[in-house]
Amino acid sequence: MNAPLITSSLELATAGVEISHLSKSFGSHLVLDDISMSVEPGSVTALIGPSGSGKSTLLRCVNLLETPDAGTVTVGSQTITAGQPVKDRDLLALRRQVGMVFQSFNLFPHFSVLRNVAFPQERVLGRSREEAEARALTLLERVGLKEKAHQHPARCSGGQQQRIAIARALALEPSAMLFDEPTSALDPEVGVEVLAVMRELASAGMTMIVVTHEMQFAREVGDHLVVMADGRIIEEGVPAEIMAAPKEERTRRFLSAVLER
Amino acid sequence: MGDALVAILLGLPMTLLVTAASFAIGLVGGVPLLLGLRSRIRFVRLAVRLVIDLIRGVPPIVWLFLLYFGIAIGSFRFNSLVAAIVGLGVISSAYLAEIYRGGFATLPRGQFEAAQALGLGRATTLGRVLAPQALRTALPSMATFLLSLLKDSSIASTIGVTEMVTAATVFARQNTATAGIVPFFLAAAVYFALSIPVAVFARRLDTRLRKAL
């Protein structure tokens, strides 16, 4: 993709993400067990591990789609402490700082592509319709989908929908982005389009946490790799180093299983 | 109030008879209509579809009046009970055929293909592989339909079948000074009470099926 940097027109005010002593259970099942991790502003952290290891839950705790039982989450200057009642205002403030991209895109099917990207800006940032739609068009152009602006999401391929979802999140000028297996629902050749957009975003200096099975992406784009199993971080460090020489037996088994596919 | 309740409950067996008999007719009558809907001949499919839609397009009360007042062949005429059962039975056949069809429509195509690949004949495929599965998914809708049939059986009162609503009306008329709203209220309560077990049954089936699927 030779489009200009998708973020060149954005005010990129990146923030770090700090997670400390986070725990979460579903019923009697401990999904996250005292997790602490730190994401530098402008860095890319790849989160990998077998299914059920808690990586998606961890990601969803960052913007409080899941409510942690214990611990704190800090994004920029906004801290949420588990167990204390969260005011609606603080919750929305945190979510406005953090963009999220889902495995299943979750575009709003009853809105056109343009409205998908513009509507949240109007509601969340209070932009006028004209301003929001102009901005939406710019972003759609940057992800290469300006011509789809007036269609409905159902008319777009999975890869296109995911790029629209990224544009929708970016339109709110988040200071960090969460990606929950953004290419898992896509065919490999389509996933490439999405990964290309994510690469650009990373090189523009966006703080990103990416749950993924794309090892090549994690190695090339990731500044930091976190390996999870059974609700714990079992290993973390520089992606290429861990992939070349995992210290943990479970990391080694997981990596060889993923790479064999 | 006690008298009214007794009078209305005396109409209950007739309500249940009309409901059960017409449902039974529908259970059986729905099968040939279903086969027509699934026929290999396009004309048969379209004709049966039109017949079903036509039956469902005419309100029950019109069916009952048509059979009760309209049919006179020589000296033959339906009495009101038979007219009600036949009329609601015809309507049930159309609705149940549609419910059966819905059950088949939710079956994965792989089931049909697997049976074909195993070399099972058309009848075996339909009768032994597809129908049992389709019936299972159709059961909640069938229970829901039974409920609406129970309520539609009240329409039999308009051609003089002495079921619960007739009982309520007669009681109200005979006790104008004292009865008031009570008999109708009681009839409503009995219908409501009857609908609870079927509704609970349908809901339980529904959740059980959803878990099984």
Partner: protein
């Protein structure tokens, strides 16, 4: 006189049946929406009354509802003209049934939609009004169309409380001409001529919605 001469009389009845349908569907669906929101509420004092009203409305035959209002209520001092009684009764039934359909539609909105709205920082109000409600109502359209057809057919019950709608007119014509078979056959066909194409339309709409077309 042949039956053809009575067609205008049947036509007048049909017109009233259609008016009765329009009123009961319009008011019924509005009340149904309110009941659906109530039944979906997390506050018990909104939830349970709504559920009770809905279950009563669905558990009692429409004919009994009409009798209750027209023959029953006068004894407690509430007197309605037959047309008003029929409108109220049929509205009540339509409200109860439609609320269940709207509730099912709202429930069919995928969880991902709520999550995406939450992740974007949309407030609860806009999430519900602009994201969930439009999609929920949209997916309940076929069921609501089907219910409108049922409501049209149910207007024939108003005959029993002497509203001069189509069925009442048919009854009168039958008594005048003694051609019961012909009169009720024609009447049945008139009902079907409206209900059957409407059913086909609702099936077509359902297919279109299922295909995800805009």
């Amino acid at each position: 006189m042949s039956l053809v001469d009575y067609l205008p009389q049947l036509g007048r009845g049909l017109l009233l049946s259609l008016q009765l349908t329009a009123l009961s569907v319009l008011f019924g669906y509005l009340i149904g929406l309110v009941l659906a929101l109530g039944a979906a509420s997390s506050k018990w004092w909104l939830k349970w009354p709504a559920i009770v009203v809905v279950e009563i409305g669905r558990g009692i035959p429409a004919l009994v509802v009409l009798y209750l209002i027209y023959f029953g209520l006068p004894s407690v001092g509430i007197l309605f003209e037959s047309l008003v009684a029929a409108t109220i009764g049929l509205t009540f039934t339509a409200a109860a049934y439609s609320s269940e359909m709207i509730r099912a539609g709202l429930q069919s909105v995928p969880r991902g939609q709520f999550e995406a709205a939450a992740a974007l920082g949309l407030a609860r109000r806009s999430t519900f009004l602009r994201v969930v409600l439009p999609q929920g109502l949209r997916s309940s359209i076929p069921a609501l169309m089907g219910l409108a057809i049922m409501s049209f057919q149910a207007t024939s019950l108003a005959y029993s409380i002497s509203v001069p709608e189509l069925m009442s007119q048919a009854y009168q014509v039958g008594n005048l001409t003694f051609q019961y078979l012909g009169v009720y056959a024609i009447t049945g066909l008139i009902y079907a001529a409206i209900a059957v194409p409407a059913t086909w339309l609702s099936v077509w709409v359902e297919h279109r919605l299922a295909r995800g077309a805009a």
